[in-house]
Structures are given as structure tokens and as C-alpha cells.
Symmetry: C2
Subunit: 376 residues, 2 copies
């Protein structure tokens, strides 16, 4: 079904705030959601307590029962999970694998969608193009801003297999002879569906460019399968320009010429790494939104900021809710409310321009400002 | 044995120029090597033809016989291998796995050493710190150069196991039901030796800081083994400050605050990805040197620029030989000629300052300029 067909008059949302700043930024996203929806659309929310704190209190990472209840919702708005880095009470990976990845796998979120753009009014850590290649910019007196290329790309990260499969183990555990394996599991089925999704997205964008990122010169088994399927599907999309890049080279281009990308499709682990880098070069993780999407709509999709729970700033009002708010926009688009989604994006854009040079605002001040804009 | 003990009056070098710009940059490195060595040290070189072109001509990627002959040398100076990206005659990975990785594995190059620094006189793609955080720099009129933090770190990348093991395969190959696996193999033995090496290097540096990079919240089997061994070895190095960072977060810090790193130790694949990014943020892949080191000296170590064979600019004189020249300095340091190595580094530093704003020079002009400096 298309996004428009699935639009309904009731949005039944599961909300998982999680740990640290998760609940704070989610609250702002909910404010904005409530304000942006048309009069005749009702928003119902159910809160679920999950995450490191919840596990410490109850021993539940994510029970089958909770999973069943979550299934009934239209979508999930997710904050962040994870304890403080030094917290020895929670084994590293327990919440990530036992809750977040369990959700992505159980609900078949095979498209992990991560848009990146350098918003007008913001500056990333990279020099402007004129500064970067002084020889290209003539006398240096030209207006850099007017010729600055646009950074605006999306990463379509596979979300249900690859090195994240959880397949592996240890032998002679805890001894000097320990061996630990991690098996990256890649299926033609799993690759083809995410590659097709990426081609569809590329086709719908003005530049119509799709880059496959892998490491097929070293990980030859998985890499050749990705490449074979990518090339096969490409024949069905003659209007999309394609290329291939090794993941190591991709980090160079992302950090020196991010404007060359339009859509990137890549595996679960490479996507994890590249999207943090992409967020960094486009103004920071505070703006990076994501959707864990099940395009077949067999289970609810889940929308979350790329950032973590940042326990060090939890409760201080310093967390930037923008990524969570933009994730809510992705959620609305997925549920067929494209216009409302666009209103959030526009409001964020306007707010970001106002932020430049202005005094820092608190989490809720930013949320309120964007809420007022979408309502107005 | 220490580097000083292994210093000898004869350096018997194997030289593998390889493909594309490989032979061009290697030739410049050899020029500089010949010029920098003290009168009483003799340099003998034997050229080996290997790489994509050689494979096309002979069918040899790297024979057992060639491997035997290479073993007899003191060290290997390596250029780059790889055909043009579009070249369909050579399966992706054939030369990489069959020659380059075969060498790293056969000669037990378990320390893949990759130093990164922002050289004085050069500018990376990142804004200066003052530009990056205007609120920290007061009025903005302060002299940014004088307060600019120093970017100077090394990555100690594991070189003989992990996802590079070559372990994996396919089932139902070529069909819609194909499954491809890649097994990351991690051993306590393999991890401990590279972690120890990294602690030794960190201990010898002024800042004495070591960061473990992994993804132990997702790749829990390998990640926990790395973490356990890292923490155990750390107890023997109380003078070294340690921390842990997920690989995705590491890309953010490398691209926004690279000055926070001193020594990084990480697995084979993460090291591959992070060192290309590190090269990019510190002035480009044209300056990134590396050593595939066997610290136990059971086999010759191999030194190579991080960059590839760049077939598009081969023969044009546009290749920058600096990374190959700096790799030769790493080679000399490994063979006990620390003073000669330092002379190359100083000459490169001086040359880089002269490059700023000057007209571009050819591969051999740069090589000659550095040769003259080290000789003088
Ligand atoms: C928290 C972690 C399991 C997660 C991932 O690795 O996918 C995060 O880094 C992300 O990118 O969403
Ligand atoms: C060419 C390739 C096999 C190699 C690697 O992945 O190690 C290269 O990228 C490197 O970093 O030396």
C-alpha cells in the first residue's frame, strides 16, 4: 500500500522514551506531533517503560508479552536506550541486543532509513568548499555561500541481517585460548528487498543516484552477493545512475565531498558506522533522525533519533530534541501524513536559521518553538 | 630484539611497486632511502612484479615460490595494487585477498601501524577549532593558530584475523536463495599481542592514552573478548590512561575532535575504515603511511602508503609520493635506523610547509625535493 492509502484518522502510537535524554526528547516530539496533525486526526499514545533503567528495576529487556502489545500499534516513537558507559551493572550489549535489535528484527525493520542534510543556517565541521579547494574558487573573492554545493543524501541501511545477526559464539571462554566468532549472515532475499527500496527512493529524488557501499574486495562472499543483486536490480532502473564504493573510501568522500552522495545503500554494520559520520559532517548527531521501517507494513515501524541516551546530560535540559522531532516527521510520512511531515521539516529549518548566533535554549524551549511554528 | 639491536650495515629490501601509481611513488621512496642512509650502510633492492597487471600477464597472484623468496629479505617496500574499478577482467578481491592479504597473513603482520597527524603548514577538511566552536574562542579575535590543538595519533590495527580471516562462504550460490556468510575470527592470542603492542606504544608517547575501538554492544562475542583482554592488559600499564569507544561514535570524534586521540587499538575491519577517515581529516590520503609490522621479527615487515593504485592518474606525474616516502621512514625505524627515519620525517615536514600556496609539483619533483633535503 502507498503511504496515502494507509493514512488514517487515528494514529495509535507506542512511545518508548527509554533512558537518559530519551524521554526528554520524545516528549518534545510528541508535543510537535500533537500540534501538527489536522483537526480530524486523533493521536493516541501508549507509553512503554523499557531500557536499562527498566531492566535494572524489573529484569525485563523486552518480553514476548510486551512485543505482542507493541505489535498492535500503528508505529513506535522511540527515544534512546543505554546506561552510563561506566555502569558495571549492565553488561554491554544486553539492552541493545535484547531490546532495540530484538525490536528491529522481530518487526522486520529491513529499511533503516537515515537522511542527512546540511540545513541552511547551520555549519558542519567541514570547511566550505571554497576554503577546501582554494584553487577552484578563482580569486577567492567569489561568494562561497552562493556556490556551496548542497549536502542532502539518505542512507538506506539494511536492518535485519549482516553482522548484526547475532550469530556467533565463543570457545574456551575466559581462557588464554578463547576464540570468539561473529558471523555476518547475508541472504539474497534480505539484500534484494532493501536494494529495491533504495532504488525506489533514488528514482523519486531529483538527482537519481544510488551508491552501493560495501567492502567486496575483502569480504568477498557477502560483498559479491551484494554486488550481484545490486547490479541485477539496477537493470530495472535505467533512470538511476549507480556506482560502487568501498566502505573505507566512503569515509573519505563523506568527510571531504559529502555533496557527491544522493542515496547510499549498505549493510547493517557499514550503515551504522557511516550514518554517525554522516551526522557529524552535516551538523551533528543532534539533528540526525532515523526510521526503522517495515515497508511491507507487516509490523509497526519505529522512529528514533540516531543519538544515544547521553546519560551525562540527562535532566539538564541541554539535550537537543530536533533529531527526535525530525524522526516524528519521518513517522508521519510513513503513516501517510506527508503534508504534516513537511510542515515539521519546514519548522525545523526555520528554527535552525534562528538558532545561529542566538543564545542556547533548553530542550523544551526548542520543542515549544517548533510546536508554535507547526501550529501557526 | 629492540630496533637498535637489529640495525645492520646491509639493508636487503624487497620492492613491490604493484599497479597504477604504485611503482611511481615507490621509486621516489627509494630515491629518498638511498640518500638518507649513512655512508656505511648498504642498500640492496630486489624488485618483484606483482599485482593486477602481473596477474593478467602470468596468472600469478602470489605463488608459494615468490613468498619463499620474499621471506629472505629484511623488509618489503610496497606500492599499491589493484586494477581500474571498471576492469571486468579481474574479480574484485582476487589481488587483495590473493596477494596483499596473503602477505599480511603469511608474514604474520599482526600490527598494522597507521600514524595520523596534521602537519604544520597543511590544512585538513575540518574547520579550525576556533571556527568550529565560536562560543569557546571568546571575541573571535584570538589567534586561532596558536591555540589550535595538535592532531597526532596512531592507529594500531590488528592485521591477521577478525573479519579479514577469509572465513565464510556461500550456499545456493547464484540463486534467489543464496546465503553468504563472513566469519570474523578473533582469538585471545591474536588480540593480546596487538593490544600489548598498542600499550607499549602508548606508554612511550607523551600523552600515554590508549583508546579501544570496537562495537561490543552489538558484536558481543568478539567485542567482549577484546574488552576483557584490553582491561586485563591495562592493569599492567597503570601509567597509560585508557578508554573505550564504539566504532560509530569514533567516526564522530575523528571528524570533529581528532585531537582527543593518542593511540587507538582496534580490529582489522574497524581499523581499515577508521584509518581512511583519519587520513582524510588530517590532510588527505596522499600523506598516510603505514607499516604491516611483525614485531616478533619472525618474517619481514612490509611498509606501504594507505592509498590505492589510483589507475586514473597513473603515468600523469600527479601522484603524491609523500605517503610512500613516509612509509619508507617507518621501514627505517623498524630496521633500527631511527635517526635516518627522523630525517625523512623532518624533510617531509619542511617540504609540506613549502607546498602551501606554491604551484603543484610532479611526483618526481616532490621526491627530488625531499631527497635533496635528507641528503643535505
Ligand atoms: C545502540 C546500537 C545497537 C545501535 C546500532 O548499532 O544499530 C545504534 O548505534 C544505532 O545506530 O541505531
Ligand atoms: C586493499 C585492501 C585489501 C586494504 C585493506 O582493506 O586492508 C586497504 O584498504 C588497506 O587499508 O590497506
Amino acid at each position: 500500500p502507498s503511504d496515502t492509502e494507509v493514512r488514517s484518522k487515528l494514529i495509535d502510537l507506542a512511545v518508548i522514551g527509554g533512558d537518559g535524554i530519551g524521554p526528554e526528547v520524545t516528549a518534545e516530539a510528541l508535543k510537535v506531533l500533537a500540534a501538527v496533525l489536522p483537526e480530524d486526526v486523533k493521536l493516541e499514545t501508549t507509553e512503554y517503560k523499557l531500557g536499562a533503567e527498566h531492566w535494572l528495576a524489573t529484569g525485563e529487556a523486552l518480553s514476548e508479552e510486551t512485543l505482542e502489545r507493541l505489535k498492535a500499534h500503528d508505529a513506535i516513537l522511540f527515544g534512546a536506550v543505554g546506561a552510563a558507559p561506566g555502569d558495571k551493572r549492565i553488561p554491554s550489549g544486553l539492552i541493545e541486543r535484547g531490546m532495540l535489535l530484538k525490536l528491529r528484527f522481530a518487526f522486520d525493520h529491513y529499511v533503516n532509513l537515515r537522511p542527512s542534510k546540511l540545513w541552511p543556517g547551520t555549519t558542519g565541521p567541514l570547511r566550505s568548499r571554497a576554503e577546501r579547494s582554494p584553487n577552484d574558487s578563482g580569486s577567492g573573492s567569489s561568494d562561497a555561500a552562493s556556490t556551496e554545493p548542497v549536502i542532502d543524501f539518505i542512507v538506506v541501511r539494511e536492518g535485519t541481517e549482516g553482522p548484526y545477526a547475532g550469530n556467533g559464539g565463543t570457545m574456551r571462554t575466559g581462557t588464554d585460548q578463547e576464540i570468539a566468532t561473529e558471523v555476518s549472515v547475508n541472504t539474497a532475499y534480505g539484500i534484494e528487498r532493501v536494494v529495491r527500496d533504495a532504488f525506489e527512493r533514488a528514482k523519486a529524488r531529483p538527482r537519481r543516484k544510488l551508491t552501493l557501499v560495501h567492502k567486496n574486495n575483502v569480504l568477498v562472499f557477502a560483498g559479491h552477493l551484494w554486488t550481484r543483486i545490486f547490479n541485477a536490480v539496477a537493470t530495472e532502473y535505467p533512470e538511476v545512475t549507480t556506482d560502487y564504493m568501498h566502505v573505507d573510501a566512503a569515509t573519505i568522500f563523506l568527510s571531504t565531498q559529502p555533496e557527491r552522495f544522493d542515496v547510499i545503500v549498505t549493510d547493517n554494520l557499514f550503515g551504522d558506522i557511516l550514518t554517525d559520520l554522516a551526522a557529524a559532517v552535516t551538523g551533528g548527531i543532534g539533528l540526525a533522525a532515523s526510521g526503522n521501517v517495515n515497508p511491507a507494513r507487516t509490523f509497526p515501524s519505529m522512529f528514533e533519533p540516531v543519538h544515544g541516551s547521553a546519560p551525562d546530560i540527562a535532566g539538564t535540559g541541554k539535550a537537543d530534541p530536533t533529531a527526535a522531532i525530525l524522526s516524528a516527521a519521518l513517522l508521519l510520512a510513513h503513516l501517510g501524513h506527508a503534508e504534516a511531515a513537511a510542515r515539521i521539516e519546514a519548522a525545523v529549518g526555520a528554527d535552525l536559521i534562528e538558532r545561529e548566533g542566538a543564545a542556547a535554549r533548553s530542550t523544551s524551549e526548542i520543542g515549544d518553538a517548533i510546536r508554535v511554528r507547526v501550529a501557526g
